[in-house]
């Protein structure tokens, strides 16, 4: 009863003191562990620490308590960034999920050329957000893009100036981001659909369930894990979005499309308010951790 049984390890019971043999795996893992501890967790701690100092252009070690956080929440730009993130994030997640689910259900109907269609829906995921941003920036530009094209076709009064409009510009970011990621969400739902037991559905059909009822009552509820994964991935992408905003609107017009990631960057590196930048980064980390930690924890527990 006192022997420790290795979990699923291949390692045989200890034969004498083979020290080296025991140490090699840990030695192999140690550089990665060291890197992660220093460059992920050490750096997180350092930035967290800076958020309580009066660092400006360079890190300083004079502690100022919660002052940076108090000031951060009084800055109008931060308000704008947070509201933008909420608008963008909720629309982005909802539209991607609805579109992804719709396309996945349609693609699951024994479609000819399914492989080709899937490839087309998913290719934007292979592109950089900078490329996506540039393509949509010029396509939505009133001077040369959609508006100019429709006008040249004869509809002279057609107007589409969202990207130049402070109130509407945030929605152009939703358009481009949905274009980039919705195919990926489709693939996640399609994988979920293919994993559902056929027998249950056949039984329901024999019982005379209508197609809509079948999907609403039986199939979609079974896609819960896919919804969870999609939510986690999309929420975390939304919080981190930076490249797309830089390429598409540059945070503009004015500051109309600033988000926490662009706010952090400009306060830290161009406005030399490192303490406030660190505080905003800390809040970004906390929001991502609130989503990721329960998810990772449950995934790791299931695996055991």
């Amino acid at each position: 009863m006192t022997m420790t049984v290795p979990k699923t390890s291949a390692r045989p019971a200890k034969q004498g003191g083979d020290w080296l043999r025991d140490a090699i795996p840990k030695l192999v893992l140690s550089p990665s562990l060291f890197i992660i501890l220093v460059f992920v967790y050490g750096f997180i701690f350092f930035t967290f620490y800076l958020s309580f100092t009066d660092s400006r252009i360079l890190p300083s070690h004079d502690l100022v308590g919660w002052l940076n956080y108090e000031r951060l929440f009084k800055i109008r730009g931060w308000d704008i960034a947070v509201v933008n993130l909420l608008i963008f994030g909720s629309l982005y997640i909802v539209i991607c999920c609805v579109l992804g689910l719709l396309l996945a259900i349609l693609l699951d109907q024994k479609i000819r050329a399914e492989g080709f269609i899937r490839t087309v829906y998913l290719y934007p995921m292979a592109l950089s957000f900078i490329v996506t941003g540039i393509a949509w920036k010029w396509f939505l530009d009133p001077g040369i893009g959609l508006q100019a094209v429709v006008r040249s076709w004869g509809w002279e009064s057609f107007t589409f100036t969202w990207i130049k409009d402070s109130d509407m510009a945030i929605y152009t970011i939703v358009i481009a981001a949905v274009w980039q990621t919705s195919g990926f969400v489709m693939a996640m739902f399609l994988a979920g659909l293919r994993g559902i037991d056929n027998e249950v559905m056949k039984a329901a059909q024999i019982d005379g369930a209508s197609t809509v009822a079948l999907y609403r009552r039986i199939i979609i509820p079974q896609l819960r894990p896919a919804f969870m994964s999609a939510f986690v991935v999309l929420a975390h992408m939304a919080i981190k979005s930076y490249d797309l905003i830089i390429a598409l609107t540059g945070g503009g017009p004015g500051t109309a499309t600033e988000m926490p990631a662009t706010f952090m960057y400009s306060y830290t590196f161009t406005r030399n308010q490192m303490g406030i930048g660190a505080a905003s980064a800390t809040i970004m980390l906390m929001s991502i951790a609130a989503i990721m930690v329960p998810y990772i924890y449950s995934e790791l527990r299931e695996k055991k």
Binding site: R11, V40, F46, I134, M188, I246, I296
Partner: protein, 294 residues
């Protein structure tokens, strides 16, 4: 995802419904292809055709001049070098970063599945969370660390950064894959006296082809497409492609050469797009493994 055989047909469909399904699917194909179409046709026409409202038309005067300009003569930042030097920077950055993070990921996955020890789940959890942190949280200390290491503003500095933040995902891939690998084989080899590295080389590696492809494609796509680290840690002469492309497009001096911008955007997209077309199956597997695990 691998097979293309649809397993079920749930909607009992008459001809009309099927026609509607195909129509919707086709419309979305056009939606996803639209920006690519815009980029390609406009990179092949003179600027005047774009500014006169012809963005959606095919070129009247076909020309490859925008491509030549984007590649070798366009003004990027202060110099008229085109995107070529930055394309080379990206390659010099991507190749070592991908190779090193994949090798480390394979070794880590091997240890974490076949040489388990107390606390390994915690280590894996730490690695995993590192994949998802907002990198804003490490920008400030990393800038200082690169300075201390003498790597600030260099391509090797970028390689290092991408290696550090790429290990989490590559470990995740190999760990999940090696978990399915029969432990009995490893144990038998151990009893025959094979050591840690012999088993890795002779037994694990030969079976690792598919996951290595998945991992390499994922890392390649991510690192090639990165913008944040490139913008934060590079100098004028070490900028990766994405940063240079953004500078090309956002530069406020002179006439906006949209056709050159589109050509440049395609140049930046080409490597990852080619990989996707050639090995899309593996790309999708990587995406899924990064989200829906197992």
């Amino acid at each position: 995802m691998a097979g293309s055989s649809a397993s079920q047909q749930v909607i009992r469909t008459g001809g009309g419904a099927r026609f509607a399904i195909y129509t919707i699917l086709l419309i979305f194909c056009l939606y996803y292809l639209l920006p690519l179409y815009v980029m390609v046709v406009n990179s092949l026409k003179p600027l005047s055709e774009i500014t006169s409202g012809g963005m959606m038309s095919l070129p009247k005067d076909w020309t490859t001049a925008p491509w030549a300009s984007a590649w070798s003569t366009a003004q990027v930042g202060v110099e008229a070098t085109g995107l070529k030097p930055y394309f080379i920077n990206s390659i010099l950055m991507v190749v070592p970063a991908v190779a090193l993070s994949t090798i480390l990921g394979a070794l880590n996955g091997y240890v974490l599945t076949k040489w388990r020890f107390r606390g390994d789940t915690i280590i894996f959890g730490l690695l995993l969370f590192g994949c998802f942190i907002p990198f804003q949280m490490v920008l400030i200390p990393m800038a200082r660390m690169l300075g201390l290491m003498g790597l600030a503003g260099t391509v090797p500095g970028l390689v290092f950064v991408h290696l550090v933040y790429g290990i989490g995902f590559s470990t995740l891939y190999f760990k999940n894959y090696y978990q399915q690998f029969p432990t009995e084989l490893v144990r038998a080899a151990m009893i025959d006296g094979a050591g840690f590295f012999t088993i890795f080389r002779r037994i694990m590696l030969p079976a690792s082809g598919p996951i290595a492809v998945v991992c390499i494609i994922w890392q390649f796509t991510n690192i090639w497409n990165d913008f944040l680290f490139g913008a934060s840690f590079s100098d004028f002469d070490s900028q990766p492609m994405t940063v240079a492309l953004n500078n090309l497009v956002q530069s406020s001096t002179g006439v906006k050469e949209y056709n050159v911008h589109f050509a440049g955007a395609i140049l930046a997209a080409l490597p990852t797009l080619l990989v996707y077309i050639v090995a899309g199956r593996y790309f999708v597997r990587g995406l899924m493994a990064g989200s829906v695990k197992g």
